[in-house]
Amino acid sequence: MSGQDAVPEPVIARPGKWRFALAHAHSKIGWERMARRAVVPLVLLAIWQYASTVGFFDPSFVPSPVSVVTSWWQWIFGPRSELAWYSGTWLNYVYLSGWRVLVGFAIASTVGISAGVLIGWFELIRDMLDPIVQGLRPIPMTAWLPFATFIFGIREGAAIFLIAMGSFFPIAVSCTIGAEQTPKNLVRAALMLGTPPRKLLVRVVLPSALPYVFNGLRVGLGIAWVLVIVSEMLAVKGGIGYAMWTAYQFVRIDLIIAAMFTMGLLGLVSDRLLLLLSRRLLRWNTGLRAR
């Protein structure tokens, strides 16, 4: 980015690039810190494994870490067969869940950012749309499930509708706040510099609301993962949520745990990708944060 190394550093050190975005922006992760961060999880795993080995846990209720990993391994790499849903299906299920989240979240982002910014900026649009948003928002997302299933049937549509609806609200609300917070003087500065009023939305309001937009997107994405599990348990076939529910019915606790970790992993990776994008686009904002 800034190739002006001959110039003395002015006030604040320049923020990190891709490397730092994966962890905390303000610190390097050295080996020592890596080790420090790994201590507690490893100790917990060891205790779990030890307790299973000495028979402290009933293996039919709480499987050992090794048996979870073994089942997970088979779920991922095992041979596929018509009869064994727990063998070799993992990647396909990840794909199904990921695809549903992606489509639902993409719809929610597009509609949510546009609606949110417009509601926050134009009084007319606020007066017309805000009652709908505020009126539907208190309905818990899971309460939409029977309705969605009734309308869309046990199909993709039900899951995607639910995910899109659920992540729409936090995105829209956050964008509304962001647009409302546009500093008056920046709008005045733009007008003074010759920006026509109809272009203010794109030139000033949207960029100024961007930190709020990303905030909303991250919350929305989290909700999308919650809802994909819910809808896969009840409304659609295939996917990690579906696998989890099936595992429950076959009393395969090891696979339930494997599915849980899978979800955690997917949530983490997708959130970090979004964070990476936001660090990239909000480079101008990094120096303003306390952390």
Partner: protein, 273 residues
């Protein structure tokens, strides 16, 4: 349009402002009462003059500036620029804000380019012009910095050249140096004076500082406490650049400080009542 570094900067022909019986009232946000910010203010600002507005807090200096900028409309009265009513903001009147109002998502060069691009200048040309202006205020090499990476003084320089770059007829400055430290303030005043002497634009400069007003102005306009009116206009007949330690400067200082003090006491008395 031509953008030279000296002399050729000021191409604008006129820049004469007339305020006739300008009245502006606000509704107080807290208790809904009507506040009269300006009560029939009349003032002429000559083309290419440097006019400072000086007065106690809340006397309507900033309100007047906002009306001249076109950000606000008076309730009654006329405000004319070269005989034409001012109705909205526009690039013929460049505004320098106290809080800089730089776009935080644009780097320094993009901030300076912004107005040029709005004028329809292409990327390459506006980039050349922006770099020339950055060089004028000693900010070469900072093109790709973001505003938050710069000190207050640097940011205010950027805010100043951002409007100088679009070559407005009028420069409206609302306590532009109030937020920077005292040493930087002196340097910025000198720089502004130098740029003004090169460009000879009409400048309306709001300040709290008597010294700053005398140092910069052709005429110092002292305003009354709210509701704002013109109390006195003091022409400063000193050669530039001015020596703020000279006897003549001190006489102006004494005269204007006395005018202000009377008004400030009124504000204080009103608050106590």
């Amino acid at each position: 349009m031509e953008h030279g570094t000296a002399g050729a900067l000021g191409r604008s022909a006129a820049g004469r402002i007339e305020c006739r019986s300008v009245r502006k009232t606000y509704r107080d946000a807290a208790d809904g009462t009507e506040i009269v910010a300006l009560d029939g203010l009349t003032l002429d600002i000559e083309a290419r003059e440097f006019l400072t507005l000086l007065g106690p807090s809340g006397c309507g200096k900033s309100t007047l500036l906002n009306i001249l900028a076109g950000f606000e409309r008076p309730n009654s009265g006329k405000v004319l620029l070269n005989g034409v009513p001012i109705e909205r903001p526009g690039p013929d009147r460049g505004v320098v804000f106290q809080d800089y109002a730089l776009f935080p998502w644009l780097n320094i060069q993009q901030n300076v380019q912004y107005g040029l691009r709005e004028k329809g200048m292409d990327k390459a040309e506006s980039s050349t012009v922006a770099q020339r202006f950055l060089a004028m205020v000693g900010l070469s090499g900072f093109e790709r910095r973001f505003p938050h990476e710069l000190s207050g003084g640097m940011r205010q320089r950027v805010a100043l050249i951002r409007v100088l770059a679009i070559d407005p007829e009028i420069l409206l400055m609302d306590e532009p140096f109030a937020a920077v430290d005292a040493q930087t303030r002196i340097i910025l005043q000198e720089e502004l004076q130098r740029l003004w002497m090169q460009t000879l634009k009409t400048v309306v400069f709001v300040t709290h500082s008597v010294d700053e007003a005398i140092y910069l102005a052709d005429r110092v306009t002292v305003m009354t406490a709210r509701p704002g009116l013109v109390k006195a206009i003091v022409p400063i007949e000193l050669p530039r650049p001015r020596d703020s330690t000279s006897d003549a400067f001190n006489q102006y200082r004494r005269e204007i400080a006395q005018l202000i003090e009377v008004e400030s006491r009124k504000v204080f008395a009103a608050a106590a009542a």
